[in-house]
Amino acid sequence: MSETTRTTVKKPSMAVEIAGIKLRNPVMPASGTFGYGEEYAPFLDLEKIGAIVTKGLSLKPKAGNPTPRIAETISGMLNAIGLQNVGIEAFIQHKMPFLRTLNTPVIANFFGNSLEEYGEVAKRLNDIPEIAAGELNISCPNVKQGGIVFGTDPKAASEVVALVRKHLQKPLIVKLTPNVTDITVVARAVEEAGADAISCINTITGMSVDIHTRKPRIANRTGGLSGPAIRPIAVRMVHQVVQTVSVPVIGIGGISRPMDALEFLIVGAKAVQVGTANFVDPSVIQTIIDGIEEFCIDEGIKDIHELIGSLRL
């Protein structure tokens, strides 16, 4: 492209709104893959990405699982970090001061070990004005109900969302687990319980064994599969959820190139999160944003909303 044509091409409008939060563009990191933001500051301008999503926060600091915690698989990885995190107080004290300086919405991913704890964390988030929204991770076992994962049971999911909704005075994004028979049932349940937006998917439970030691390759035996390998499953689920609910949907799962993000936007995700790909290329989110912009220019798209949900069936 010559200098003259370049200046005349108008950049598309990339801004989207999710649950009342205005994002300059629809691309943000996925929880747990971007630390607390600061870790990636050397590699990309945090004020150019759509939002920052924190590692999952709980009321108390959480130790997480024994090691090894991660294992590479074909085009993916397994992790069983076990939701290790500094806890909400240390987050406020040590991580917020940096995040506060940024002109980018911060979304706090959070969870509880019990129904009550979910509520407690939600309340604590109200005290942090710079947190734009909460992203509720319901892929955690409900200790009280014998370890059944909240997000796999529409009733339990509905309950925890309703409780959090009551306490949280901020927009509420609910993050779904893909380990279910019918994700639309859970999606409908959490929408009815008050979710302002839905993000999906979290990791898919998997396992890998070292044939020489004959031991699972991660200490926790099973872990969550993420990365490019799961993308077709994630696209399908986002498609299903978009068809089911009317709140905005954030697409997640195996995004590592602009075209991957576009796939999710086309099926109807209003924004996307990039997870595992950050490990492979620490500035990948910027690359994806640039690529989407370029695609819009090439296809004559003036506003990203023309693209969102433009799937032709």
């Binding site: 915690r69 085009s75 990885m77």
Partner: protein, 284 residues
């Protein structure tokens, strides 16, 4: 710390199964310390998905070009071919494009120089000790390097170390080079001779456990460089943690190998947990 999109200057086999790769990296050496590492992206396309961590062997610069271009700074890694990623790496050539994230982590801490400095390297664990040796020699320390390997193939860079002024001792399990036996036998002897020494070790976990037991018994200060599976290399994924000394479920102390380490003072680690998660017999 930077993500270098750069290229390979050279990539050569230096001992059967061991390669040394020199990579163009302007500005790298200014910030790099001994014991730090890089995350190397094997190729742009999959597989493998994740980057691979490698210790920094050394940094340096090529003389300025005849045509007046500035000297070319580089970083060198030495790697052993063990799996999918390193197999692909061994096939890379001069000029191939690669990506490199670094320098990462916290390296060795070697402030002053009273007493001997004993470096213990097992196999590929020699890698981070070369820069350390250079730094210690520069400070005027007496540096002894105990190199251990299974066979003679696992011993490399001996002349490089000696050129720095390091006194080297080689031992191999099968006796094919140097003394027959494990490197820790040599360490025990040396510590008897130099009771005030400080030890720096890198190698497989069973070796590190043994070194640690010896150092505890001799009250010798020890720093170790650890290897854990890594995904991000920058403290974001929490995949690479090790338990710190005094870790409990209530007051968890998980330390990121990539951020707090890879070099740790031995007393700050939970050695039982380490030994357990690496499947070697428990430490003392």
């Amino acid at each position: 710390m930077k993500n270098y999109r750069t290229k390979i200057i050279s990539n050569q086999e230096i001992s059967p199964g061991y390669y040394r790769m020199r990579i163009l990296a302007p500005g790298f050496s200014e910030t790099a310390h001994s014991g730090q590492f890089v995350m190397f992206r094997v190729q742009r396309s999959l597989p493998p998905l994740l980057r691979r961590p490698f210790g920094i062997f050394r940094t340096g610069s090529l003389p300025a070009d005849c045509d007046g271009l500035p000297p070319k700074e580089f970083v060198e890694i030495v790697y052993k071919v063990v799996g999918r990623g390193t197999t692909i790496m061994a096939e890379l050539h001069e000029g191939d494009k690669v990506e490199l994230l670094g320098p990462l982590g916290n390296g060795f801490d070697a402030p002053s120089c009273d007493g001997e400095r004993i470096l213990v390297g097992g196999g590929i664990g020699l890698v981070p000790l070369y820069m350390l040796a250079g730094e210690l020699i520069e400070k005027g320390c007496n540096v002894r390097l105990l190199m251990g390997g299974r066979t003679r193939d696992d011993i490399f860079a001996v002349t490089e170390f000696e050129r720095l002024g390091v006194e080297t001792y080689v031992s191999t399990d099968d006796g094919s080079l140097g003394e027959e036996g494990v490197v820790t036998k040599v360490l025990e002897r040396k510590l008897q001779k130099f009771p005030k020494a400080e030890v720096f070790a890198c190698g497989p976990m069973p070796m590190l456990c043994a070194v640690r037991d010896i150092c505890v018994a001799n009250k010798t200060p020890l720093q170790v460089s650890l290897e854990e599976s890594m995904a991000c290399g920058v403290g974001a994924c929490l995949g690479c943690v090790v338990k710190g000394a005094g870790h409990t479920e209530e007051r968890p102390s998980y330390l990121c190998t990539c951020k707090v380490g890879p070099v740790f003072k031995a007393q700050y680690l939970d050695w039982n947990a380490l030994a357990q998660s690496h499947g070697c017999g428990g430490c003392e």
